[in-house]
């Protein structure tokens, strides 16, 4: 992966090819290639155990890939881990700052490790910016989930990284804190920071500039949200009316791959448009229901990708 010309490389934050990693004979990431342009927010989606965390760890030098090559901020992920670490902020899935250090002490520790000129001031400024003033002497372990997440983000942005790797940063955080968090992420990206964020939430995926869907170690789809939906080749119908028993009736019919209730309506989707339409024709004729062709939601697409990947890889 060194064939990229410098002008393009300068524009690309993450560029990896053929990353493979297995633990004890089980392949967790398989032949994964991806490119992330600088300044974008890149959403990393996929079911539990799909290799998201492993990929992120390989990007910041915490794991060594079994095979594959790549660069992170222009540095080789195999040889220049030290240089990458200096420029990348990694926010772990589980809170990994010191629970028995205070907010201030944690931030000062990070500032010192990165050699910031004035660790005390850097920590004080960050506390103010995070809105943690008044809590600086509180032990990190005593903070609530939302505050812990804020502190963790503060700690990994303290040394002014060029790339942020966020592993499910909003798990277990309330909607208000999540929104604030995403506003911050967008503000950081606007200043040129690249953000790779893994998540399970569809609304968060829709806040990303680009997304990638990974399942069972394979990258299945990537692009903007619109591109991913457009490329899904999924036909979806929205049904309203008396839905009682309809879902059970439709499930399993030829061409019907997915039936999912959305409040007072039902999404019926299939990859084979003709087969799907043939199957639902009798129901469309009835005036019990109102049928309308619609675009699949991102969730429809992901559930479909997930069930297909199961067919292929399990």
């Amino acid at each position: 992966m060194t064939g990229v010309s410098p002008s393009i490389a300068a524009d690309i934050a993450i560029d990896v090819e053929g990353l493979t990693k297995s633990f004890g004979g089980r392949t967790v990431v398989q032949n994964l290639s991806m490119q992330v342009r600088r300044g974008t927010i890149y959403g990393f989606l996929g079911p539990n155990g799909s290799g998201k965390t492993t990929t992120i760890r390989m990007l910041c030098g915490l794991l060594t890939p079994d095979s594959g090559t790549g660069t992170c901020l222009g540095y080789d992920i195999l040889r220049d881990a030290d240089k990458i670490k200096l420029r990348v902020g990694y926010m772990t899935q589980r809170f990994s700052l010191y629970q028995d250090l205070s907010v201030r002490e944690n931030l000062e520790f990070v500032a010192r490790l990165y050699g910031l000129p004035n660790p005390r001031r850097a920590a004080r400024d960050m506390i103010e910016r995070l809105g943690l003033s008044g809590r600086e002497e509180q032990l990190a372990g005593e903070l609530s989930g939302g505050w812990k997440q804020r502190l963790a983000l503060g700690a990994c942005t303290l040394p002014s990284p060029q790339l942020l790797l966020l592993d499910e940063p909003t798990a277990g955080v309330d909607p208000k804190a999540r929104r604030d968090f995403w506003n911050e992420i967008h503000a950081l990206a606007a200043e040129g920071l690249t953000v790779l964020v893994s998540t399970h939430y569809m609304d968060e995926a829709e806040r990303c500039h680009e997304i990638a869907y990974i399942a069972y170690g394979n990258l299945l789809a990537h692009g903007t949200v619109e591109e991913v939906i457009a490329n899904s080749s999924l036909s979806t119908w929205n049904v309203t009316g008396d839905l009682n028993g309809l879902a059970a009736e439709l499930t399993g019919k030829p061409g019907v791959d997915m039936v999912a209730p959305f409040g007072t309506s039902l999404h019926v989707s299939g990859r084979d448009e003709a087969a799907l339409e043939a199957s639902i024709a009798p129901y469309r004729a009835s005036d019990h229901w109102h049928w309308q062709k619609t675009a699949p939601s991102l969730e429809d697409v992901f559930i479909d990708l997930m069930s297909r990947s199961k067919d292929n890889f399990q």
């Binding site: 670490k85 200096l86 772990t92």
Partner: protein, 387 residues
């Protein structure tokens, strides 16, 4: 409220003072965590004090009222007087009276009594005739200190025990003799050996455990993932984790030596400075070994177990419990590989014999070699990735 603009850029990992700066960050963090860990903090003071009090007093003070048995072959005034006189020394307390040699031997062997006195048949008649008969005192000398002082008290007893019974005024010769038989362990070792030995033993135990847990704790609490994603090198983590405990160990050593000198009257004949320097070396060696353990094991429980596995042979093979020269050759070789062996020699030599550094070259070099070996293993074993 954005978290973006930060004051200052991080420095390249290989800048001039980077090593010291990051090591310092690490050790400062360790100090803060140590201060907050009340239990460990209490251990730093309580372990040396309690151990020294328990061991020190149990071993060092002259034990009194030791359970004893008497084998009475005849029941006479003279015999009774001797037994009374023995009890008056406060060392002996006669708890059993037996009538056969088998019972007598059995009591000693089972440890139910520490002493046995045999008054033979015809003893009184022999005394009155001036035959100077022998009185047998058998001692269980497995604990030489316990037996030693009591046996020592018997010396004056022969002169005074029968003054009232015989009315012979002040005879130049004692009317009978006492034949002592120290069973099981005839060669008693010096009491002063205990405090120097304990100093090394306590330091080994506490230092080993402090650092043996340090890396595994970070892994178990999940903080290792963050730490590894930051620009710090294995050797910097090691220094940061060892240095705070060197100070802790130094405080412990001072505490133990202080108690030893003040309460147990152990002298320091040699240089106090040299004792301090070599103690610090020994402390650092143990911390390095503990740290090495923590880079090998998977969790804190294993770290404790490995520490105990190292600690036990240290006690047994270092010359603390058994004389080093008395061990078989293979055990002596093993013992040479243990820091405690060298430290006990050093401390005994400095405190009790007033040795100089010229006398201790070999043991000092051995300690340094063991320390460097442990550090090298630790740095190479330290996993920089989560693989």
């Amino acid at each position: 409220m954005s978290v973006s603009a930060s004051p200052g850029q991080p420095r390249e990992a290989r800048d001039t003072f980077g090593f010291w700066r990051r090591s310092f960050a690490m050790l400062l963090k360790e100090f803060i965590q140590l201060r907050r860990d009340r239990v460990s903090f209490a251990m730093i003071v309580m372990i040396p004090v309690m151990q020294l009090m328990l061991f020190g007093y149990a071993i060092n003070t002259t034990p009194r009222n030791l359970p004893s048995a008497v084998l009475l072959q005849e029941d006479t005034d003279v015999g009774r007087s001797i037994l009374k006189a023995m009890e008056n020394t406060a060392y002996f307390r006669f708890t059993r009276e037996v009538h056969t040699v088998e019972e007598f031997d059995n009591l000693l062997q089972s440890g139910k009594v520490l002493f046995g006195v045999e008054i033979p048949r015809g003893f009184e008649r022999a005394v009155r005739r001036g035959d100077k008969p022998a009185l047998l005192v058998a001692a269980d000398a497995t604990d030489p200190v316990a037996a030693g002082s009591a046996l020592g008290a018997l010396g004056t007893l022969v002169q005074t025990a029968l003054q009232h019974d015989l009315h012979t005024g002040d005879p130049p010769d004692p009317p009978f003799e006492i034949r002592t038989h120290a069973r099981y362990n005839p060669a008693a070792s010096s009491r002063l050996n205990i405090v120097p030995g304990l100093l090394g033993t306590i330091l080994t135990m506490t230092m080993l455990i402090f650092t043996a847990l340090s890396v595994t704790r970070e892994i178990e609490r999940g903080t290792m993932e963050s730490l590894l994603s930051m620009p710090i090198k294995p050797v910097e983590v090691m220094f940061g984790k060892i240095v705070p405990y060197v100070l802790v160990g130094f405080i412990q050593a001072t505490l133990i030596i202080g108690i030893g000198v003040l309460l147990f009257g152990v002298p320091i004949l040699g240089s106090v400075l040299m004792l301090a320097v070599l103690s610090t070396l020994f402390i650092t060696t143990n911390l390095s070994i503990g740290y090495t353990f923590s880079t090998i094991v998977q969790n804190q429980l294993q770290a404790m177990q490995l520490s105990m596995m190292f600690f036990l042979p240290s006690i047994l093979l270092s010359g603390f419990m058994f004389p080093f020269a008395g061990m078989p050759v293979w055990a002596q070789y093993l013992g040479e590989g243990l820091p405690l062996t060298h430290y006990i020699r050093i401390v005994r030599a400095i405190m009790l014999k007033g040795a100089t550094i010229e006398n201790l070259q070999y043991d000092t070099i051995a300690l340094i070699a063991l320390m460097l070996l442990a550090m090298t293993i630790a740095v190479t074993r330290f996993r920089r990735t989560l693989d």
